[in-house]
Amino acid sequence: MHIDKDLVAASATPLVLAILAEGESYGYAILKRVRALSGGELEWTDGMLYPLLHRLDRLGYVTTEWRTPREGRRRKYYVITHRGRAALADQQRQWVTITRALNDVWPGSDVLLTALGEA
């Protein structure tokens, strides 16, 4: 299934914030998590994740730290902040509203809301 580019872009921020809300992470792991969550349907260009992460950093939604794990290379970790969680909650409200609206005009399918766990 092809997912529209605008939709991919719009969902990127809440997705990344939600993944970071599960715990601190770094670029590659975030991308793997996105693939796993969408069953491989959400195709991101790998590189584009980083400008997005940097924007979240500038907005104060995440903090960053360079760390060198014992076995490996220096790596940049991202940790969600209080403001990031607030932004995530706000995004969630918006997406629920949109999902509910779509659900109402698509008769006979409760798929969306069930998936959201918000029926």
Partner: protein, 446 residues
Amino acid sequence: MESVESQIAEWRAYVAEAPGVNGRDVDELEDHLRYQIAELNAAGLTADEAFLVAVKRMGDLDDLSREFAREHSGRLWKQLVLRGGDEPARASSGWLETIVFAVAAAVVVQVARLAADFPDEEPSWLARNLSLFVLPFLAGYFARRRQLEIRQWLPTAAPFALAALVVNLYPWGADSATEDLVALHLPVVLWFAVAYPYMDGTVRSHERRMDFVRFTGEWFIYYVLIALGGGVLMGLTAAILEPTGVDPELIAEWVLPSGAAGAVIVAAWLVESKQRVVENMAPVLTMLFTPLFAVMLAGAAVVYAVTGLGGAFDRELLGTFDALLLVVLGLVLYGMSARDPSESPDWMDRIQLVAVVSALVLDVMVLGAMIARIGDLGFTPNRTAALGLNIVLLLNLAGAAWLAARFLTGRSRLHRLERWQTAYLPVFALWAAAVVVILPPLFAFD
């Protein structure tokens, strides 16, 4: 694996060339690439195949670079390629319009000088109008360079027209102190008016305001360099012409005013087109002088506080301290604009905080002395202007110190500090405008 290592190194060098991407970003991207390669290897691909797939997944470098550039527009300022994405940078072009505007400013200043018969006569209209002879050309230069739309011409021209009316229609008294204050504050007002065409009208954008701060700092450096070179040139010319009987004074009278006016435009052009040159120099200069000023300010603050000299500020010293505080503010502002916001706090930020706090202490003492003087002797135009400036500075420094301390202790982001400064810029502009427009009638143009 040997060949993959060299391929990665080549890829790395290639990515590092892209505008908007800095060394840290490349580290991060390389880490990603290596993970991807390792995983593809584990899935059975050969090293070469894994490398190719990983690079392909990373995406088109042009798109990536543009995305990075958009996010870090401060870095992009270096390359000047963001406008319109594919539009080529117009670095070398534009020298002709530069010369036209520079010559126009030079001629106008020269005509004004002849009309005033300076330096034999020193009519006061010359001093209060001086910035009006030069800065409109700078605004016009940017209006042309940025290709402003017609509806943007009015807001560009209005401040200059209003300023010209105000300073020439007010009925100035003889030896008027408010007139001197106007001569001092009008250049500041008009410099902020230049910001409108410089920023292409997007005066609300904090990023563009920071660009303007950066421009101001770099313009100043270029202007000083041109002035130094011009001074040497004039000195040598005078020395060479002396045996021929030409009066060296004459050269200074004719060349200096026009040269100084034209250099305003030329320095702006240099900042715009020879960005990389000054960019390597400016951070070094800030790094050199911020610690020196910090030591000097801290020393002065301690000495004045301990010896109680703070109460005895006289008029001369007050002026000196105001100038000093402005220089510190300029250094801090410029240092901030040249800094990479994604870096974590380092020793330079601590030194800046020392400078800001010392300046704050000094400013409080200056303010105390000033209020005491006003209490004793009452308000005069000079005292009012100085008092206002110090209050404006005090608020700025206090906010900056508070946010810088929070940034250093990790409780706030550098972004907040930048926002504070860029949001504060209009306060400076408004204060200077108030001194030009409101103060003279308040004191009956005395």
